[in-house]
């Protein structure tokens, strides 16, 4: 079958899957058969794309096409939605915040600076230490080197992002400090022991 026909088929299946998901999520009652069928069709579309080139590029093309399809569905949903009528809102008495109603204290500046330091460089260094440790552990487990390197390279930014969220999620500065030092010093300690 020529590539164009396969691509059109894959797009049609993606459209059907997205339509099914839309129908399932919009109905008042949750319908698992519809949801599963929707996701199944989307998955089938990705599989069909793999017949147009190698698996890696096929899946990437499939995902790109599906995001375009989903965005078009979203545009259609937005176009169908009525424009909200303007209505007056009870607004609290307007004050311009920057005029100095709230004086920023030195303690607050210190807290903010420490938060930036924890979420930024400290979380980054901790994530780097954990990723390096992961590579060394994988090598010790006889995992092929480039597979370990690829894993460590992927884990590093994911872990940094995850740590940043986990740290910003904490309300107390002390909890943030304890979390970051346990991850950072823990992994660094292990690294020094195993290397």
């Amino acid at each position: 079958m020529p590539n164009l026909v396969i691509q059109l088929l894959a797009i049609a299946v993606a459209i059907a899957g997205t339509w099914m998901l839309q129908a399932a999520w919009r109905s008042a009652q949750r319908s698992w058969p519809k949801i599963l069928a929707g996701w199944g069709l989307v998955l089938a579309s990705l599989c069909i794309w793999t017949y147009t080139s190698a698996v890696d590029k096929g899946v990437a093309l499939g995902i790109t096409a599906w995001v375009v399809v989903a965005t078009l569905f979203l545009c259609a949903a937005a176009m169908k939605s009525p424009i909200r009528q303007a209505r007056p809102v009870k607004k609290k008495e307007a004050t311009v915040a920057v005029t100095g109603a709230h004086q920023i204290t030195k303690r607050e500046i210190f807290r903010h600076a420490l938060t930036v330091l924890i979420i930024g460089p400290l979380a980054g260094l901790s994530a780097m230490a954990v990723s390096t440790l992961l590579l060394i552990v994988m090598q010790a487990l006889k995992v092929e080197y480039t597979a370990g390197l690829a894993t460590a390279s992927i884990v590093f930014p994911l872990l940094w992002g995850g740590l940043a969220v986990a740290l910003a999620y904490q309300r107390k500065l002390l909890t943030r400090l304890i979390t970051i030092f346990s991850v950072g010093i823990g992994s660094l300690g292990f690294l020094l022991i195993v290397s």
Binding site: D56, R84, V89, S153, F156, W160, V165
Partner: protein
């Protein structure tokens, strides 16, 4: 009772996730936005390079003999011996042959003669801004990589703050107030997640690779940095001093054409040319794969030594070899590039709408911050405006190189500072959009005037038409709008 506890814990999770989302967005939203905008434009770096020099010789292919002749001529013209000699072969988005040394680059003609010097100051400025934020290289790469990690963090915290992610997936309220803005932000974030998560991850991976390599080298290879990536990209042979005749260039190219006819060549690299240790890599693409290509190695006599294995080696090699193309969208032709550009614009819209929600909420609570909001508006519209201003001066040829960098950062800083003083975000947005569109039109006009003889070539007119189209997209809504100077306070009152 259990339901109440669950709801309370859910709402606490939402509040705290939103708090985390907000901390990162407020601290880094501006820089991430600059990367999103420059990344979107950089998808078309090949087309922009052509547009900057529309008169350069173009070809779909070049014979091995002609390429070798041009490379030899450039090499012999070098005043100081180069350590690398490159041939960039024509590709669909940049159908030109370019001979590059350590210090300069020239176009080659199809007959093997050497053409004009390569010069694309604005595209280079743009790429440097996206790769390094114009900071020193490894530090800049690391900062950009870190911003990728924080974009991942924002995606994660955004999803955590969204308990009805699937149920609301197609809900979209239109209008100009807070709820439509929330819908815009959330829906686009969810549906373009495969793009912005993969792009943030690959960007972070590229940016943080150097610093991770330092760490791995320190703990695993006694500080030997080369050992970290040599199992992926191949090891550099030991340097052998001593003079030798220049290696055979046409031979390996003929071999590739005969043995791998379905793999278009992208680069020829001659290491340590005219020394006893010279050796050759030819990079060939695999058009049905995501990888950037594979290295095919030859010795100085043109004897084939085998490929490195990016295409058929270990899974790690193939994964790492795919990262660059996934990030820059140059793996599927023009349609994929257009899709990447659309997704890039949508990512920018997500970032802008996120901060707009913050300012609208502040206004609703009676804590409006017009100076801060104006400064943010200046980042949003000042970034494209100053980018276009740098393009304008680059096209005129008045300045290039470091001067463009100074113009961009100084221009953006002044714009942000002056806008903050005005404390009128809507007026700031309006003026900067008018300026952006005006600069775009002037740039196209000047480019057309300077390159009149190449105006209707495939290298020039498509980009010029797109730039005029962009100017119209920016201008038309402004003309249709009645009162451009309304602040967010008024918008909240009207539409919430």
């Amino acid at each position: 009772m259990t339901a109440t506890v669950k709801t309370k814990s859910n709402s606490q999770r939402v509040v705290r996730s939103l708090h985390a989302h907000l901390i990162i967005a407020l601290a880094l939203g501006g820089l991430i936005y600059i990367l999103a905008i420059t990344g979107t434009v950089a998808v078309f770096n090949g087309e922009l390079q052509r547009w900057e020099q529309p008169y350069a010789p173009e070809m779909l292919t070049i014979s091995p003999e002609a390429a070798a002749q041009a490379a030899k001529t450039v090499f012999e013209g070098e005043e100081v011996a180069t350590t690398h000699l490159y041939i960039n072969f024509p590709r669909p988005d940049l159908p030109r042959t370019i001979i590059t040394t350590d210090t300069q680059a020239f176009f080659a003609n199809a007959d093997g003669s050497v053409g004009v010097k390569e010069h694309f100051p604005w595209t280079q400025f743009l790429l440097d801004l996206h790769y390094y934020l114009h900071l020193p290289q490894i530090f800049g790469l690391t900062v950009v990589g870190a911003l990728g990690a924080f974009l991942l963090a924002m995606s994660l915290s955004g999803f955590m703050a969204h308990p009805r992610i699937f149920r609301d997936a197609f809900t979209f309220r239109r209008g100009a107030g807070l709820l439509p803005m929330v819908d815009l932000h959330n829906r686009l974030s969810v549906w373009t997640a495969p793009f912005h998560i993969s792009n943030a991850l690959t960007g972070a991976l590229l940016g943080l690779a150097s610093v991770l390599a330092f760490s791995i080298a320190a703990f695993n290879f006694d500080g030997d940095l080369d050992s970290v990536f040599s199992p992926v990209f191949g090891a550099e042979p030991a340097e052998i001093e001593g003079h030798a005749p220049l290696a055979d260039i046409a031979g390996p190219l003929r071999y590739m054409a005969a043995e791998f006819p379905d793999q278009p060549l992208t680069y020829f690299i001659l290491h340590d040319p005219a020394t006893a240790g010279q050796h050759i890599n030819v990079i060939a693409t695999h058009t049905d794969r995501l990888i950037f290509g594979d290295y095919y190695n030859f010795d100085a006599h043109g004897q084939y030594q085998g490929n490195v294995g990016i295409s058929d080696g270990t899974i790690g090699q193939q994964l790492i070899g795919s990262v660059y193309n996934i990030h820059f969208g140059n793996w599927g032709g023009l349609l994929v590039k257009i899709a990447y550009a659309i997704f890039g614009v949508l990512l920018s819209v997500i970032i802008v709408s996120g901060l707009r929600i913050y300012f609208l909420r502040r206004s609703q609570k009676g804590r409006s911050a017009p100076k801060l909001e104006s400064a943010w508006e200046a980042v949003v519209w000042g970034t494209p405006m100053v980018l276009v201003a740098t393009l304008l001066v680059a096209v005129t040829g008045i300045i290039d190189g470091i001067a463009l960098v100074v113009l961009f950062w100084l221009g953006l800083s002044i714009t942000v500072f002056a806008s903050a003083l005005s404390a009128n975000p809507r007026a700031v947005g309006y003026r900067l959009r008018v300026a952006t569109a005006t600069f775009l039109l002037i740039t196209v006009a000047i480019h057309g005037f300077i390159n009149a003889s190449s105006l209707f070539t495939a290298a020039a007119y498509p980009v010029s038409i797109v730039l005029i189209g962009l100017a119209s997209v920016v201008l038309v809504p402004l003309i249709a709008r009645s009162n451009p100077t309304k602040g967010s306070d008024e918008l909240v009152a009207e539409h919430s």
